[in-house]
Symmetry: C2
Subunit: 644 residues, 2 copies
């Protein structure tokens, strides 16, 4: 097949590719990241590049104007090479790697009854072995296993080939005194895994030396790692970052599509591993350890995440998740080692991926339900995780039902022009003056603002609605007397911060497109919990508590969340914001076998209700695309406010 040269930005980044190669593939070959939030389906228009010279064929120009095409613009994911080409990749389309400043270590309370030696599957035991001699020529492994049985009561214990290879050296280096790091087994599904030797250290290691574990939450948008001292149970450091896969699709569907093309699955696996491993390096530094030292001492990781994220992490094809009847390859992965998974901690560390229950209700939710405690409560509880997917669980200690309503990542700060995660520099709360429409805001960390996080967006949307900047359908009122409402590149917008007040030196505004995005997100969530409740015959009034997980920011204003119709109009004392419940559930499972077993129980007890085939969901969603809702009687407190 004929080969052509594709040159980028008139520079030296040129690649040879066969005729018919997609420009997006050529860019990747050349080491240039081109945004593909829709997974390369030609839907989002975010991968537009400019053809300076040469012959290409455009399969689709959706999202490009006639003028764009005249200027040479083409969608990289929809355009194939048919001759030598010079391509310009617009700067704003190169992947924006956001630098985020994480919050300080969370003040996570260690369960008061936590006892390393009793609750933890990880054990560190000191062994005195008898030295071999001509009258006792027992082999090294049997000598070790006998000591484990006699001195610690553990048998059988499996030993990997890697450990066998260093066994003899360590026994002799330690002069027959050694410290064994073991995983004594975890009940996964119905099976108890046998005890396993993770590592063997020469000599008797002091009790004060730390042993580390990692609780990992892989969100579609954000990945979070907590570094835990397993002996004390304390979280010693935490860090979050956007999931590196985000440039290959903003939601799980786009990711699955991307994974199905060429070696997209391996690429996505490497991207999320890179994110996890850089977070592990970051928490190591924060805990004051050399990354390498800490890796060797981190002997267990518990992973929560939605089913697609877990499949992609493990390199398991996720295609069947996307297609009816929406089947996962695995809800409860077996215990693996860090080496098998590719996580840069001790290669023999146990990696325990928590159980999900369905394609769209994954381990993030079973972990979240556990963290929320709703499964031990007598109260009828509604639990929502407002992440990218928007999973909802209803129930109590006696029963649990769950559904998912693909809500999009708006409240995680993605998919909104000036959105960002709830970290330093994020606007987290907004007030707008009724008279002059001038805003006031609070920024996380007190810094100059860089963007708006989830709680800020809720707050802003409610304020704009209350002050009449937008109407109930999200239309901007362009007749109001303020320079802050203006016609922008993407249609009408409201400027929340002028460029001279911001970190970025650019105006921070919210646009009509952003508002529509937020309306769809809150509409999907509203529709989800309503249909879920309806399908089990529970009315909204019967709900006794509402627990909300997700990283909106610290100061969620319940009143405002109700005003926009995101949350049901219940008494304010019914609500509780729990933050990242997924990582918290993983943390509990990391610490404590009983917690791990409870998550297994939650998974087996929970009934999944499929909304995608449910017309009621579609109807409810359409009705909820308004502020707060087409039917104001569902929001008497908001209705009353207008009446007042």
């Amino acid at each position: 097949m004929k080969e052509f040269t594709v040159r980028f930005d008139l520079g030296d980044k040129a690649v040879q590719v066969p005729s018919g190669t997609l420009l997006s593939e050529a860019a990747q070959l050349a080491g240039i990241d081109v945004n593909q939030p829709c997974g390369g389906q030609g839907r989002c228009g975010r991968c537009a590049v400019q053809i300076l010279d040469g012959t290409v064929r455009r399969r689709s120009t959706l999202r490009l104007t006639t003028e764009d095409v005249a200027l040479g613009y083409a969608l990289a994911c929809q355009t194939v090479v048919e001759g030598d080409v010079d391509v310009h990749v617009p700067a704003q389309e190169k992947i924006e790697r956001r630098l985020t400043t994480d919050l300080t270590v969370a003040e996570v309370r260690v369960p008061s009854d936590y006892l390393f030696s009793a609750d933890q599957s990880i054990r560190r035991v000191k062994l005195n072995l008898s030295e071999p001699n001509m009258d006792d020529q027992t082999d090294d492994l049997s000598r070790l296993l006998t000591a484990l049985r006699q001195q610690v009561g553990l048998a059988p214990v499996t030993v990997s080939l890697a450990t066998l290879r260093k066994l003899g050296g360590i026994l002799r280096e330690g002069q027959w005194e050694v410290t064994a790091l073991l995983d004594t087994g975890t009940e996964v599904g119905e099976d108890l895994q046998p005890a396993r030797l993770i590592d063997l250290l020469p000599g008797l290691v002091a009790d004060i030396e730390p042993i580390w574990g990692a609780a990992i939450d892989i969100g579609t948008t954000t990945v979070t790692v907590w570094l835990v001292d397993l002996v004390s149970g304390q979280v010693r450091a935490q860090a979050s970052e956007y999931n590196g896969q985000i440039s290959r699709g903003e939601d799980v569907i786009s990711r699955i599509v991307y994974a199905g093309k060429n070696s997209g699955d391996e690429e996505l696996r490497q991207l999320v591993l890179a994110t996890i491993n850089s977070l592990i390096e970051r928490v190591s530094q924060r805990a004051g350890e050399q990354a390498q030292d800490l890796s060797g001492r981190t002997v267990k990781a518990v992973v929560a995440g939605n089913s697609t994220m877990i499949h992609l992490l493990l390199g398991i094809p996720a295609a069947s998740i996307r297609l009816s009847p929406f089947i996962t390859a695995v809800n409860q992965p077996p215990l693996l080692t860090a080496q098998e998974v590719g996580i840069d901690i001790h290669p023999e560390a146990t990696v325990d991926c928590l159980p999900g229950i369905a394609s769209y209700v994954g381990a993030d939710i079973t972990a979240g339900v556990h963290a929320s405690g709703m499964d031990l409560s007598e109260k009828i509880t509604l639990f929502m995780d407002v992440g990218t997917n928007g999973e909802i669980v209803l129930g109590s200690e006696e029963w649990l039902v769950a559904c998912a309503c693909s809500a999009g990542p708006a409240f995680e700060g993605a998919g909104v022009a000036n959105g960002m995660r709830a970290t330093r520099g994020a606007i987290e709360e907004v007030w707008i003056n009724n008279n002059d429409l001038e805003p006031n805001y609070r920024v996380i960390g007190g810094a100059k603002p860089a963007g708006i996080c989830g709680s800020g967006l809720i707050s802003l949307l409610a304020e704009m609605f209350i002050t009449g900047i937008i109407d109930k359908a999200g239309n901007f009122n362009l007749h109001l007397e303020t320079p802050r409402i203006r016609e922008g590149a993407q249609g009408p917008e409201y400027v929340l911060a002028w460029k001279d007040e911001t970190q970025t030196g650019k105006d921070i505004a919210i646009t009509r497109v952003d508002v529509d995005n937020l309306l769809r997100t809150k509409g999907a969530i509203y529709a989800g919990y309503n249909v879920l409740a309806e399908s089990v015959g529970v009315s909204m009034e019967m709900i006794e508590q509402m627990l909300i997980g997700g990283s909106f920011g610290k100061y969620i204003n319940i009143e405002k969340a109700i005003q926009i119709g995101l949350l049901p109009d219940l008494p304010w004392d019914h609500f509780q914001f729990l933050g990242n419940t997924s990582v918290r559930g993983a943390y509990y499972a990391l610490l404590d076998r009983k917690s791990r077993e409870r998550i297994t129980e939650i998974a087996s007890k929970m009934t999944y209700i499929e909304l995608s085939a449910d017309n009621r969901f579609y109807d409810a969603f359409m009705s909820a695309l308004f502020l707060p809702h087409t039917d104001l009687s569902k929001f008497p407190s908001v209705n009353g406010m207008f009446a007042g």
Copy 2:
């Protein structure tokens, strides 16, 4: 550090090395194999090379004459580079890769009661899974595990990440009909390993499709592979070859020394894997299968071999085997997968290394004892494996004691100038005319002779002794009237075949050095079984049967083996030659769980007696360095012959 150029044979094979590099290391870097039978200790003199030009420093010139050194010869393993050097590697010192023609498929009898479905740990089960739908969204793995539990009664079953990755594709390709290949578990040591899914195939595979297993015997000198159809139990092909490690040391001690230097352990591991994998390719071809197809269907391997061979195969340091108190790292390795070990069969195939009992009594012996059946016999039995090490077991169904007497590889055809394995072209029996001292011999396969195998050497030694060519101390009688006795390069020798009768076009002779070698080997074996019997209070007369393993050739002449003092002077009907008992034991263990359990029992029952610290052994050895022995009263039948 200063670097110099080492050039070999004035050709283009030149390497840059730092000052002080050993010539043997430089040669290896240049891809030139230099013989190091003694493991690079400067003991054997086989790595001599000629320095044509340049500066080197000889650490030792042991085995070189003053004249050799004057001609520029140096021991590659003892000579370091101190300037640019031109080196000549004499052709005869390059590694001799013997081309061997293996025997035809052994007529191994399948145990008459063998039943695949009952005896085999491997199972092939056909599963009909219900197709998922919106009312049954069970994940693929649970669906499979449920079918295994409900349709086959197997639970728990472990599934590897590799299999998980292809699970969904295979279920759908087979339209929810699949064939599972499982290992239902083997009792290894005290622990029963759980059932494990090895592979999953789309559709219902026909019962007549073969499933393969491999029985592997790793000898210090020779590696043997049997390819077994697990369904019928039949051995479909076999092949043997010298162990590729042989160029790095002829006995286990030299190998251990070599393994301890630089990355010698990894090199030895790769060498034996290359041998095993080439044998697997060869048996595939013989079974009429494409190597690749067969690899994928070969789901189990059972490995026997002495403890050093097993350690080196698995990359486990063997150093402690060599040093008092002679400790193995592991006598019973855990079950591994072919991928972990590096054997080119199905990557998820089970690799079961049989248990040894001590540094010098390994799995070859436990397997051999099982194959011999002595552990189920009421008779007091002496079992010998005349391999490189010469292990001996004495006992019955009630007790077993074992020892090892490092005998050397003479009867495996190594360490003797014209020695070879018992394959096509080997002289396997010899008669010498009492009057004219002309020989008669039989060659395996009826071809022209290429060398002499173990049985031929026993026969030849006895004939030379009986006809007076050599005396009881092995001295040649140079006064006899025959051109066949002559002074050769290595001292006196007897020509068994003139060059015009041979395959090689060279005389086949046995030298004084060979005779001494054979005397030491037979002396060590004799001393071994005598001291072993003595140490448990059994006299030679009490021995009711004598079973002999090892690949001497087909026609061992017991009379002649007694005449040279290799075997004790017992009635001829007490003796039985069993061939390669080690691979046969591995074959039984491969087929049948009960056999595997019996080998575990044998290992736990057998008592090891250490001879190396026993003065009686040294005394017995010295007395046995004669034909048949210093004390002729121990060999009345031989003594009587002379008297007559």
